[in-house]
């Protein structure tokens, strides 16, 4: 809070008009936001983030949400809980995840420096494990023996099934029937881990319908069951709880970048579906002079209507328990989203992101399927890292932003003075079939046989 005016460490002075303009705008607006409640942005606790958030759920769930809120309030500062969680992060997940500088990739981003936060190296292959270990511990704490979860691509379902196996909890995963076909291997993974996977045949048969079905299960079984929500959306306390469990991403990365380059990054970039890895990355930087950029899935392009760019193209509404940006039609009916990335294929977004967008603290940009897949291939070929297609949206955002910054900089500016920190939220093993099909790398029939055998 003492360094609002300019980036504080190692700044090169007079550079990059556009970045400065936007930074100045961020500073003035965050100052307003902060003076309004006299607190740092990082301290936002919910249930409301500005006009977003809340609890738009049946009364039947309120008691359980109150219990969970109280349990989390107690656990988050209880050394017994935090020590156990830290040990799990270290010994089970393999944290801290490293940061990796990717110069051959960054050469395509105008020559700025790009650092990746390697959540792909976590056990189970994505940032999702950070959240589920905390929520599984919390489930034990509130004395429940069964967990349920929704999943889109299957990453959160796999992570939840993993934690349930580790903690000896009964586990049911709801997954849209359409997604169980698109991600058959992840269904097998969850079943190997002992979870029951329920294909959801209602509505659009995708993630939003899986969430509806999980809520229906929870209403009926709330006395024995905890709902391990996968992202920073949903009713309070989930946006706060999941953010608190994911903020380790940004806290680690902030320290790692400071250690590596002696200053903060200029920009932090992450993909946004519901927004848990982005919120996890952004949180540590909310009160720093660091630009925050969320990359939403633009599918075939925002102008086609076939996309999942909720903040870019949606309007405030209520879905799955919170008021936030939402893709909806003229009558407030939810519009089905579209993205090549199942993990971003969601018509809503976490309320804290809607708030950060509304106060100008974070920017949200659309990235199309085609841009994401180009970035996916580029990282594979330049750095030997196969990213999740979700994360490839952040990589594409970094490529575009790097070129913008360099293009707008005065002549003679060294592009390498700009440092972008990108959340590589997951690895791409699960996406090999999708990528092979996109790039026409194998015979389609072989792929179908392998996918279903």
């Amino acid at each position: 809070m003492t360094t609002r005016g300019r980036r504080d460490e190692g700044d090169a002075g007079d550079t990059r008009d556009e970045a400065r303009r936007s930074e100045a705008a961020v500073d003035s607006e965050t100052t307003v936001a902060m003076s309004a409640n006299n607190r740092a942005l990082r301290d936002a606790l919910g249930p409301y983030f500005g006009e977003f958030g809340g609890r738009f759920v049946p009364e039947a769930l309120i008691a359980a949400l109150d219990d969970l809120t109280a349990a989390w309030e107690k656990a988050r500062t209880d050394p017994e809980f935090t020590d156990r969680l830290a040990a799990l992060h270290r010994d089970y997940t393999g944290r801290p995840s490293p940061i990796t500088e990717v110069p051959r990739f960054a050469a395509h981003a105008g020559g700025v420096r790009v650092l990746l936060k390697r959540e792909d190296l976590n056990h189970t292959g994505s940032h999702k494990i950070n959240n589920v270990l905390g929520q599984a511990l919390l489930t034990q704490l509130v004395g429940k023996r069964r967990v349920i979860a929704e999943t889109g691509a299957g990453q959160h379902g796999v992570a939840t099934a993993t934690a349930a196996a580790l903690f000896g909890l009964e586990c049911t995963i709801y997954m849209g029937a359409e997604d169980t076909r698109r991600q058959a291997l992840n269904v097998a993974r969850m079943r190997l881990l002992g979870a029951e996977v329920v294909p959801v045949e209602t509505g659009s048969q995708t993630l939003k319908d899986a969430i509806n079905e999980a809520f229906r299960d929870w209403v009926a079984n709330v006395e024995t069951t905890n709902y391990v929500f996968g992202t920073v959306a949903g009713p309070h306390p989930f946006p706060t709880l999941v953010r608190d469990l994911q903020k380790i991403i940004g806290e680690e990365a902030r320290g790692q970048v400071l250690e590596r380059i002696g200053r903060l990054p200029d920009v932090a970039i992450a993909c946004v579906g519901g927004g848990s890895n982005a919120m996890g990355l952004f949180h540590a930087f909310l009160d720093d002079p660091v630009r925050l950029i969320g990359c939403e899935a633009a599918g075939d392009g925002v102008e086609t209507g076939r996309h999942a760019a909720t903040i870019t193209a949606g309007a405030p509404g209520v879905l799955h328990g919170a008021r936030s940006y939402l893709l909806q039609d003229a009558d407030g009916q939810t519009i089905e989203s579209h993205s090549i990335s199942a993990g971003l294929d969601y018509p809503g977004v976490g309320p804290e992101h809607s708030w950060l967008s509304s106060i100008g603290r974070a920017e949200y940009r659309p990235v199309s399927d085609a841009e994401a897949m180009d970035a996916f291939r580029l990282l594979c070929r330049t750095e030997g890292i196969i990213p999740a297609i979700e994360s490839a949206h952040a990589l594409a955002g970094a490529l575009r932003l790097g070129n913008e910054i360099v293009g707008d900089a005065p002549a003679g500016t060294d592009p390498a003075e700009t440092v972008l920190l990108v959340s590589l939220s997951g690895r791409g093993d699960k996406d090999v079939a999708t990528a092979a099909s996109w790039f026409d790398l194998v015979d389609e029939n072989d792929l179908i046989e392998k996918g279903t055998s």
Binding site: F56, P58, E59, A60, I62, A64, N212, L326
Partner: protein, 289 residues
Amino acid sequence: MTEAIASRTARAIDAARAEGRAALVVYLPVGYPDVDTSIAAAKAAVDAGADIVELGLPYSDPGMDGPVIQAAVQAALDAGTRTADVLRAVREVAATGAPTLVMTYYNPVHHYGVAAFAADLADAGGAGLITPDLIPDEAGEWIAAADRYGLDKVFLVAPSSTTERLHLTAAASRGFVYAASTMGVTGARVSVGERAEALVAATRSAGAERVCVGLGVSTGEHAREVAGYADGVIVGSALVRTLQRSDGDIEAALADLQGLTRDLASGVRAARGAPAPQDLDQAGSVGSA
């Protein structure tokens, strides 16, 4: 409850009470199987003894509904049912004289504009809203609009509600308080939840003057049982099911709907020895309607 504004719904419940019985509240989603048939079905239910009508506003994400209503509202949306159709249905059904409420998830109202929706609902003759995913804590805008336009605010209580929340919900409601009989979603069940009776008593102790019970009521026998302790009996899925006909025979569907409604109407009268519905024509002149 806020009683400064006269509630037609409360009056209808009081009229039933004066007859020594519970009120029969029926739910039907607008647009299933099509808008005109859903209007005809609601009118047919009123003819067969329903006291109060809940018209469902079809929504893409009906998180508190079971399979029967999910399928019906999805079919209604697939057939192009719009919010404007719901307001037209309210106008036509309210013309029967039965208080006509709209049961809706919050987002369609939020998106329409809460004050604008309240104004148009009142203009259509609607009695108010039942809001399954809107708790009083989040309902400031709707409560202000409902008070301005004299509409009922029906909030829900559940077996998990604390005493404090029962007080809050009873105080915020007008018309009646909707007691969810069980922890779960809508749908016919073999029996009505055992916790319903205790919930009704607790809700009354918390200040509610009228408590109606829904979720799981599907037969005249259920209705009789619930009418023994509640002010109203709410039936949805079982009625919607009578409209599910693969042969598309609307006349037969409406006949089945009326048959079940009569059965339910007998049930709400049987509990406390009120006259059976077949005697209604004779009893009507001396009733308090």
